[in-house]
Amino acid sequence: MKLKLITAVTAAMMAAAPAMAELTFSALSYRTGPFASGGIPFADGYQDYFTLMNERDGGIGGERINLIECETGYNTEKGVECYEATKGSGVLVYQPLSTGITYQIIPKATADNIPVHTMGYGRTSAKNGRVFSHIFNYPANYWDGASIAVKHLLDINGGDLSGKKVALVYHNSAYGKEPIRTLEELAKKHGYELTLLAVDSPGQEQKSQWLQIRRERPDYVLMWGWGVMNSVAIQEAANIRYPMENFIGIWWSGSENDVLPAGAGANGYKALTFHNLGSDYPLYADIEQYVKSTGKAAGAGDQIGTVLYNRGLYAAMLAVEAVKTAQEIHGTAQITPAMMRDGMEALEITEEKMAALGLPNFGPTFSVSCENHGGDGFGAVKQWDAAAGQWAMITDFFQADQDVLNPLIEEDSAAYAAEANITPRCE
């Protein structure tokens, strides 16, 4: 009886949900749980950009944007629930912001003909558009990240890493395991010695891993962490007086939240990034004027200009540009998810485009094609200045070692194609 009552009430509410009329986006965000420190700024940036589009431009191409937020708590089951709950309202693109949820919805979204954009996370081999028709991971992926980190190490070592010891501290999950294959491959090429140190989720307990680092003294430590794991790792590194400039995190381990708790100890910590820093861009004036001062900012509105806010904003910007491309291709403002997919596949980000948006030099330039869903793999290295309390770019955007990565991507996607019975397209 109780079940039926709940069923009836929920059904009534589902029926009362607004009918689709505009361009619908979903934000599968996580403002709660152990990864909320990363989820909140990303979600704020993502939403604020759409709010700005609505407030300043009246939507995209005259169609207003309807953003449905759904809380996942970084939990796969809730992610599935969110996906199923929102897909019926015509969501144009999913950005799950969780590797676990991404793996769930890769086959589902492909079957439902809805594109998925996993920007800098998710399944790396989804770059191969011949196999993954609906999954996009431009502008950079984890294997690019691994290669960029190694390239940076090569740069500061005069091009030679032979005999050096590199340790990888990683989140013991699909996310953290992603770079291992690439790092092993690069170890063969450059002759460094790789040590793997797994940290179990959520990562509050890392004493033994850092004890091992203290004992073995690797020359460099790379980190694939997220949420609370980052700040704990940086604190532990500071505690054992590990030289911070030899400690490099992936782009998900490089926000203000990660370094601030360690105070001055975090000074010199490096992290990767595939977009620029700070709020010194013309677009941020518009956000101040149309979004923040009108009280429409998402969340508490205190994240503007932080690393992850910028990333969420960047993700939304790429989505909006893909919508514009799709509208051009299909000659209609009211696009469907299938059209959105075409738009994403034809997306081109140029320097002029970014400048016109008020975000000059905000990210690398790239173009997406049927074969290449992952961009060109450009990234940069930034460093934390604890005294100034901000990140600073220490390199330009440079490209990952595509000669090593492409065969790996080919191999992994071929395995997926065989497993899922996919015939490669783009002939």
């Binding site: 709940i6 069923t7 796969t76 599935v80 019926g88 992603e178």
Partner: protein
């Protein structure tokens, strides 16, 4: 008035011993089965199946399994998540190694493998009891999750360590994979739920169940009257793990489709299923369903109500959800320490006499 025994004469032992001896109850049970099998499949959609029915049905199997161990045999277990993982990984290895064999058998065999693993980890129960046993099963939980994370053979050496279920069909209809129709997934799980409930119900009121309950109530007395604790405890572990393994296999192959062991089958899952059993009612098959329904449906309902219905921010709704579910658990357990099943039992007793209380 409703639950009347008057006039309902039993003329054979079979009639006298049936699961639902009261006519009204029996017809209600048939009606539920009819609705579940013949009506719901025609009206549901993807959302209802993936967000409501599949988790409810699959958790029900897990709760039935754990209820046999904790509720009927009195052996506290915190290893449910680990045993579900065994079912899931066994199912994955079987699905990928023998693609021609029907998925139905894979899931049953996965349950069998889990039963064997369960017996192995049940061995300490012969020496230790209560909280100490809980700690021993907790070790199983951590060991199994660690094992599936550590040994690449279990996930077929995939780069990410995730397992994902390929498409498998039953009678030509896809059951797993992205193209499986909602009704097929629902009916497939419902079949397992119905079978599990019937098997569990009949096991627990037969000689096996009586032995388990004797062990639960006082193991020394049980041993004196001739119950072999070795057989009774290990059979409880085996049967319980079988159901838990089946639920893990369904959870992976039909419901989620891709699984990462640490996140999906972590210690939280063990607690969740244990809470279902405690809230639903220890030692009751109906309680397993009630507990699963309570903990699966309530959060989904609250979320829809607070976010879609009232338009509140998602983070506030998520926090409130924790508070409301937590408060309700406490209220229910204070009002009725024996769980939802006991509330149902009391209601039935009252209805039997109603409208004349004497």
């Amino acid at each position: 008035m409703f639950y009347r025994e008057a006039g309902d004469f039993k003329t054979s032992y079979v009639d006298d011993n049936q699961t639902f001896p009261i006519k009204f109850d029996r017809y209600r049970y048939y009606a539920v089965l009819l609705i579940a099998f013949a009506i719901i499949p025609f009206v549901l959609n993807d959302y209802w199946v993936n967000a409501v029915f599949l988790p409810f049905l699959i958790y029900s199997i897990a709760a039935i399994g754990l209820n046999i161990l904790v509720g009927y045999c009195g052996q506290v277990s915190l290893g449910t998540g680990g045993f579900m993982a065994v079912g899931a990984y066994a199912c994955y290895k079987l699905m990928t190694s023998f693609p021609d064999v029907n998925i139905l058998f894979h899931i049953i065999i996965a349950g069998g493998i889990t039963a064997a693993v369960g017996v192995l980890f049940g061995l300490p129960s012969l020496r230790i009891k209560g909280f100490y046993l809980a700690v021993a099963t907790l070790a199983a939980q951590f060991f199994l999750v660690w094992l599936f994370n550590r040994v690449p053979w279990f996930y077929n050496y995939s780069a990410s360590g995730q397992i994902s279920s390929p498409e498998r069909t039953l009678l030509g209809v896809a059951i797993t994979g992205p193209n499986a129709p909602a009704w097929a997934m629902y009916l497939f799980c419902l079949l397992f739920v119905a079978a599990s409930a019937i098997i569990a119900r009949n096991l627990t009121r037969g000689s096996f169940g009586r032995k388990w309950m004797a062990i639960r109530d006082m193991d020394i007395a049980a041993e004196i009257i001739g119950v072999d604790p070795l057989k009774a405890k290990l059979s409880a572990f085996a049967v319980s793990s079988f159901f838990v393994g089946v639920s893990g296999a369904l959870f992976f192959s039909v419901y989620l489709g891709a699984v990462e062991v640490g996140e999906v089958f972590g210690i939280n899952k063990s607690f969740l299923v244990l809470f279902m059993v405690i809230i639903g009612g220890l030692g009751s098959i109906f309680g397993s369903f009630a507990g699963a329904a309570f903990l699966v449906l309530l959060p989904v309902f609250l979320k829809n109500f607070l976010v879609a219905g009232l338009g509140w921010p998602t983070d506030m709704a998520a926090h409130l959800e924790f508070m409301i579910v937590g408060a309700l658990i406490i209220i229910f357990l204070i009002a009725e320490p024996h769980g939802l099943a006991q509330l149902w039992r009391v209601t039935k007793e009252k209805l039997r006499l109603w409208p004349f209380p004497h």
